[in-house]
Subunit: 394 residues, 2 copies
């Protein structure tokens, strides 16, 4: 099955946990002539987008979700600057590449940082986070200004129980701000920032929102908004200043207007027929189908508590993960490999983008075919059949 016989015209498919496949009707919206951002038309668009974003994120429409030009990383930095005073101690809970990044970022911003970790593939236990807070800097929990958590750790495929982690933190440090990376969980896994007592959640456009990258998203709690650090060391991304601007349909920095137009196209589609609850169920089922397909041919799940954003799996003995990734790429399917310590052993296919059950079935069948090509014993139909069982609820 060589590439020339694989397609009439090569079809590139993004099956990695971001950037993701964007629906054509969103591409069409992105291609329209950009609105000027100081117009009533753009104000109305921003209002509509922020209203839908609040619904997707399960937060009250006021203050709602703030948009930040840039990536999820830009937005995370804005969230830290908006919630943690200069020099405030930070505890970073991580067991993967993205959680590590927030520890690095906090250090770079001048904060003393303690870490609560677990082996890759495992979640960080709520007790471990609480313990790190309790013992932070020798000064105890009262000296901790903020704790960073990661909901869906994209590098390992682990979904953290951030609700339990936050509860454990509150029990020992009720004043510590809880800043949560929801980059690959917003619109993908159950997330209730207000009910779960978070102070900030941070996401980006290029994951569950089915948009290109370029739009960061931050929600802040009433508490975080009421007590800003003095001073807020930010200008373009000063979220406290943005709050009142965006409530009026305006922004300080020039917003990425075409991405806002794209968001206006995609959000009603994402929220149709049941809102975020339906999305969570759909995403979980698609990802479970991929995991079942892998398991049926010897690719064991890597994450102990899998995130619906990505189906991280260990390649069987005798296979190398980069070879699997390359063989998929030769078929026009871009899956992700493992990162860091798992680069030789883990693959990360994903239905995070504009994907449906047919994509999950095709990915399952492709993985099976690739495994055969690489000399692994994968019976014809085993992976696709296992995926079908999950998708049919059998």
């Amino acid at each position: 099955m060589t590439r020339p016989a694989w397609a009439a015209v090569p079809k590139a498919r993004l099956a990695a946990p971001g950037p993701v496949e964007v629906p054509p009707f969103v591409l069409e919206a992105l291609a329209r002539p950009p609105l000027h951002h100081r117009t009533e038309a753009f104000e109305a668009l921003l209002h509509a987008v922020r209203k839908d974003l609040a619904r997707l994120a399960c937060v009250a429409p006021d203050p709602g979700v703030l948009i930040v030009p840039g990536s999820g990383t830009t937005a995370f930095e804005a969230a830290l600057r908006a919630t943690v005073p200069e020099g405030g101690r930070v505890v970073a809970a991580h067991a993967g590449r993205f959680g590590e990044r927030w520890a690095e970022m906090a250090r770079a911003l001048g904060h003393p940082v303690e870490e609560a970790t677990a082996p890759w593939g495992e979640p960080v236990a709520p007790e471990a986070v609480a313990e790190a807070v309790r013992t932070a800097g020798g000064g105890g929990a009262s000296g901790v200004a903020a704790v960073t958590l990661v909901h869906s750790e994209t590098s390992t495929g682990v979904l953290h129980d951030v609700r339990a982690q936050a509860e454990a933190v509150r029990a020992v440090a009720p004043e510590a701000r809880i800043v949560v990376d929801v980059v690959t969980s917003l619109g993908v896994a159950e997330l209730r920032p207000e009910a779960w007592g978070f102070d900030a959640v941070v996401a980006g456009s290029q994951k569950g929102l089915l948009l290109p990258p370029g739009l960061g998203l931050v929600w802040l709690s009433e508490r975080a908004l009421a007590e800003p650090p003095e001073p807020v060391r930010a200008y373009a991304t000063d979220l406290h200043a943005e709050r009142s601007r965006q409530a009026r349909g305006q922004t300080g920095p020039t917003p990425p207007v075409t991405l806002v137009a794209g968001a206006a196209a995609v959000l009603p589609a994402l929220l149709a027929d049941g809102g975020p609850e339906r999305l969570w169920a759909t995403r979980a089922r698609l990802n479970d189908a991929l995991l079942a397909a892998g398991a049926a041919i010897g690719f064991a799940p890597f994450a102990r508590t899998p995130s619906p954003a990505v189906a991280a799996m260990r390649v069987p003995d005798g296979l190398r993960a980069p070879d699997v990734v390359d063989a998929c790429a030769a078929r026009g399917v871009r899956i992700a490999g493992g990162q860091g310590p798992t680069s030789a052993t883990v693959i990360r296919p994903s239905t995070l983008g504009w994907a449906d059950a047919l994509d999950a079935l095709a990915l399952a069948a492709t993985l099976e075919s690739v495994a055969r090509e690489l000399g692994h014993d994968a019976p014809y139909g085993a992976a696709a059949g296992a995926a079908a069982r999950v998708l049919e609820g059998a």
Copy 2:
């Protein structure tokens, strides 16, 4: 597996033998501001498109392929008017809905028409065509002005051996013009109009060319061009007048400029890495995979000589074809049902559009899942596994 759990945002897939899925890079070309058609820029575009069309159709670049604003039917009428004198006798070979249409069209244009037929699902034998020509109108072969053939009969999924049919006709009526419907075979199945002694071939944009409908295509033989009917009863679609215009990069009627721009985007991609021969092999393999998938779960091939444009199959006893079509549609997959006498018993999924092996695998798995949903015994993975065997050449 209800629709709400099937996709995060519903994904509509065209898996019928036209209209077909158009690649995004072609949609992008279609969305560009239209060129004025009386400009050097458009002349250059038309030259490039006609050069590539000639390569795709395996004909010399001069006179090459003429474009006709309209559908394949518009183009077929233009081809008849360009090749058959008023009142000339026509023999139409058909065993399906599209071949019947050319008989109806010839009658509507005032031609006496004889027919050579076969049961649906069977090809019309070359001997049957020759016999119809020999006995036409009681006057014999010398009274036959033209014979219409259908290469890929989309309603039944039959690929005709048009080369043998044409040879059989020439043996009894060497002067009869041979006009061939290649609507779903151009760029899909082996086609050599010059080498096979045809006088006209007719296609449209919305099939193997991966474009929206709106652009008809006609190639005429040197013989047909040298001896036009006197008079040619056509104006906007007078192909003899168009020949010299299009050789200069111009057209009589205003051409569908955006579709020409779309053709300029798609043709180099279709012709890359091996030209039409690679396309024919790819198309056949994808369609064979669908047929094998169906056969593995009791859907027998309907066509005795299958066209790579469509995988017509009989539904198993106990299933109704419209139910299968509807159940696929509920999953966002638009396959075709049977036409006319086969409407209750035949389905026609297709990888004719912008499809690759992943689409074939997903279609196979979907058909299997739908069969189960409708109460048919289809083992998990049977259809997808059978498709994978074909795609891998196992």
